[in-house]
């Protein structure tokens, strides 16, 4: 039940959306009427529906199976969140309605801000960033704006080797030179190396905590103190906030800025790659530099500050059209309300419990590069695969045949052939037991020398392994329709 490209199914003259015929009017398009056809295919509604339903069935999804995908926090996406996001009076509001007509929307944003500030123990939050990486940009811009307001022009940002790639990319976009700090043998940032690199030209440090090895940075407060001592700021990558909800507040650890991936921690759906949302909590030192717009309270209710002037005169500017990812705010707030203070804490507890359960379930078959308790994800390297001819990638593809999404691979870069497994709190023990069993079975099979099986995996997916090299060498990024026939009439025909 596959479906060819939508462009291969058209037949001119079909329609998939009925609408009124345009009134005959005097055209006022300034002589810019379109002349030729665009090349879109015409289809009816049942065809389009079947096409996309068939496509969907080529996908794996959380609703269908387990995603042990480290650092991505693929957990249950409640349907009530989808429902409330579509309520009339929420999903259909125009962003430029007079604020008197959107008091409920502004209250909602303010509510969510309150939850985020309380959870993180931080005094301020910038709501508009559209995704985690966008949030990083917001945080580092605030850092740079703060330094510039002090008349300082610092040049370096320190980033651990294990960081997400977005960290250095963001720092670079803010004009900073990025310096990598190595990890200690226990998987935490090397404090000595860090101290050596610190100096008055350091604008700040970008640290993920819990880090990408799934470990809590035990020296986090010391790191904060050290960077503050040289006049720098502490940016915390909040990708792994899920692991510490209700157990510790980043604000209590000396953090100056941290983005929050609403799609990870607060379960707005990943949707095959977006949209996300990345609000950034800020310390008192950075708050004045927050981007516009933001919601304020006054006597007549809620209002929006939309220009970088007056009370927002220090704002570093605007990051996005309108006011942020409202649709994601709704879902995240519904998620938080559903959990409450008690449920949020349980999220962290069960997420960490599950990760450690998987860790001990596999650690006689796979090697953990770092000892002891992990946080929300368990990290393994490929040392036990050595000599089998099976790579981390091959193992991952074989997991597909067992009914699982592969774990995160080859990240963090500090571990050879890394496998990063994050079960999340919404998976049952039964699922974990089955997963551990399947992994042990595969590892035994690899050890037994059944290499060809792994090299050929996946066997039962909608596609076998795809040739990514060919795709990159000669990029085919669109369907190319056959050349249009000569002399086709103008598609635009509203004119009377």
């Amino acid at each position: 039940l596959e479906s060819p490209l939508i462009f291969e199914q058209g037949m001119p003259g079909r329609i998939g959306v009925d609408m009124a015929d345009p009134r005959p009017v005097k055209v006022r398009l300034g002589g810019l009427e379109r002349k030729g056809p665009i090349g879109l295919p015409d289809l009816s509604e049942p065809q389009v529906l079947r096409h996309f339903v068939r496509l969907s069935r080529q996908n794996y999804a959380i609703d269908a199976g387990f995603y042990p995908l480290g650092s991505c926090t693929m957990k249950h996406n409640p349907r009530i969140n989808e429902k409330v996001a579509r309520l009339a009076g929420l999903g259909d509001l125009h962003p430029l309605q007079p604020t008197s007509t959107v008091q409920g929307a502004l209250e909602l944003i303010d509510d969510l801000a309150h939850w985020l500030k309380t959870i993180t123990g931080m005094p301020a939050v910038a709501m508009s960033p559209a995704a985690g990486a966008h949030g990083e940009l917001c945080g580092v811009m605030a850092i740079r704006a703060a330094h510039e307001a002090n008349g300082e022009s610092r040049t370096r940002i320190l980033v651990p080797e294990s960081a997400h790639g977005t960290n250095p990319a963001t720092a670079a976009l803010c004009g900073y030179k990025v310096e990598a700090v190595p990890a200690r043998k226990d998987g935490r940032m090397d404090l000595e190396a860090f101290a050596e690199k610190l100096g008055p030209d350091v604008a700040g440090v970008m640290l993920t905590n819990p880090n990408t090895c799934g470990l809590f940075e035990t020296d986090v407060k010391k790191i904060a103190d050290m960077v503050h001592e040289v006049g720098g700021y502490f940016y915390c990558d909040g990708a792994n906030l899920n692991a510490i909800l209700g157990r510790v507040r980043p604000g209590d650890l000396g953090v100056d800025a941290m983005h929050i991936n609403l799609h990870k921690t607060f379960s707005t759906p990943h949707g095959g790659g977006g949209p996300g949302a990345g609000p950034v909590v800020l310390s008192d030192a950075l708050a004045p530099f927050a981007p516009i717009p933001y919601v304020v309270h006054n006597d007549s209710g809620f209002d929006l500050v939309e220009q970088a002037e007056g009370q927002a005169q220090k704002s570093f500017g605007r990051m996005k059209g309108f006011h942020g990812q409202m649709g994601m705010f709704i879902r995240a707030l519904a998620y938080m309300q559903s959990h409450g203070a008690d449920g949020l804490r349980q999220i962290a507890e069960n997420a960490v419990l599950n990760a450690n359960y998987v860790r001990v379930g596999l650690n006689d078959k796979l090697h953990s590069p770092f000892d002891g308790i992990c946080m929300h994800e368990a990290l393994f390297d490929d040392s036990t695969l050595k000599g089998t001819g099976v790579t981390t990638l091959d193992l991952a593809k074989a997991m597909i045949d067992e009914g699982y999404h592969p774990m995160t691979m080859y990240f963090p870069l500090v571990v050879h052939g890394a496998m990063l497994i994050e079960p999340t709190e919404s998976e049952s023990r039964q699922t974990l037991d089955e997963f551990i069993g399947a992994m042990r079975h595969l590892l035994d099979r690899a050890a037994a020398g059944d290499t060809d099986y792994f090299l050929g995996a996946p066997h039962y997916a909608p596609r076998r392994r795809l040739d990514e090299t060919a795709a990159a060498r000669n990029p085919v990024l669109r369907y190319t329709p056959p050349a249009p026939t000569e002399g086709e009439e103008t598609a635009f025909s509203a004119a009377s």
């Binding site: 001119p12 959306v17 009124a20 345009p22 009017v25 006022r28 398009l29 810019l32 379109r34 879109l40 015409d42 289809l43 389009v48 529906l49 996309f52 069935r57 693929m74 409330v84 009339a88 009076g89 999903g91 259909d92 962003p95 430029l96 309605q97 959107v102 409920g104 309380t118 559209a130 985690g132 740079r144 790639g165 809590f216 209700g246 949707g271 949209p275 605007r318 996005k320 059209g321 938080m336 559903s338 959990h339 203070a341 450690n356 359960y357 379930g361 308790i373 999404h405 023990r429 996946p458 596609r463 076998r464 392994r465 795809l466 040739d467 990159a472 990029p475 990024l477 598609a491 509203a494």
Partner: protein
Amino acid sequence: MRYMPHTALEREEMLAEIGVGSIDDLFADIPEEARLGDLLDLPLHESEMNVEKNFRTLAAKNLSPYSAPCFLGAGAYQHHVPSVADHVIQRSEFLTSYTPYQPEISQGTLQALFEFQTQVALITGMEVANASMYDGATSCAEAVLMACRVTRRKKAVISGNLHPHYRDVTRTTLQFTEFETEDLSPMLEGDEDFDTRITPDVACVVVQTPDFFGRLKDYTALAEKCHEAGALLVVVVNEVVSLGAVKSPGEMGADIVAGEGQSIGVPLSYGGPYVGLLATRQKYVRQMPGRLCGQTVDQNGQRGFVLTLSTREQHIRREKATSNICTNAGLCSLAFTIHMSLLGETGFAKLAALNHSQAVTLAEMLEKIDGISIVNDSFFNEFTLRLPANAAMIVEKLASKGILAGVPVSRLMPDNPDMANLLLVAATETCSDSDMNAFVTALAEVL
């Protein structure tokens, strides 16, 4: 808690398997003085029923454009989204799937992205498009960064009639880079003078069509000027439905098109999430930011799709990446693709014609009111009214009558006294005759 399966007994048994005595032992790495003993100062968990009630209560405090005549535009447009689009994006397999890094089990998302890229390329008249950006404004900023990389020049000249959010986001994004913008002032009449500004250090000129005031312009000559000077032309499109009726940026010679795709498939949702479009020439593709989906074959020779050219991206290139962007607007781009597939060539052209005819009809009605004039010589589905009084105040008066009359230009250009009486008015297929009549009548009353 309904979302978490573990029972107390299971937690105990699992802790024993792990070999620790309590949950607290799992959090021993947190510095003791920072550990939270008590629950956060927030309400306890709520039933689904109550959560739904909470949001219904919030929704009731807003005036829904669904229940009020609505003429708002300025970068976000009310259109009817076919129920099929919203249904399909809620299917588990699209809604709850991850980024398609594992192509063998993500062909659904990937093929849809490939179709999206093709549709965007077709309607913009460009060769290639990426798999979407956050929104139109960030796409504009990325287009400028891209132009600077392509030309190895440092300056962007920005039309004064570019949507102010787009101008601001671009300026904000560039402020700490080696690049800079030259922002022109808005012009209500005539053409901006770009010629003198296209100096040898200019990477690109950024213009918009229809422009912020709703006017349509042919940028063909400007494109030629740019190319002669070794600069690129970036064309911004706020209202993609216009592309069903007018000459495409590609036909005008644009090098990069940055657009907002919200009008197709994506609800207004108070400003986000939307879907940024970014299209360009094939030769610039390696300088393009964001995800790209490409066609290839699998081991059995079957056609398939993968994310490709990821060597541009931050998870490989880190600080040398073309952009720090990681996500795209996946689900919104899917909704766009479905809606566009339903429209097809015939429907897209008809939708555009219908929008134009609605706007012309409304313009003709409004022009008859004493003291009101239309600024535009041309427009698609949105135009600028000059009122005899402060537009923001009139909008408030009409809002209290349950009419969402349009966007006062001063909301986006607050410091320009010339703009105080200007009102942006949009009319799409969602406006009924009675909506238009109600607006015209009420406006005449409050003047």
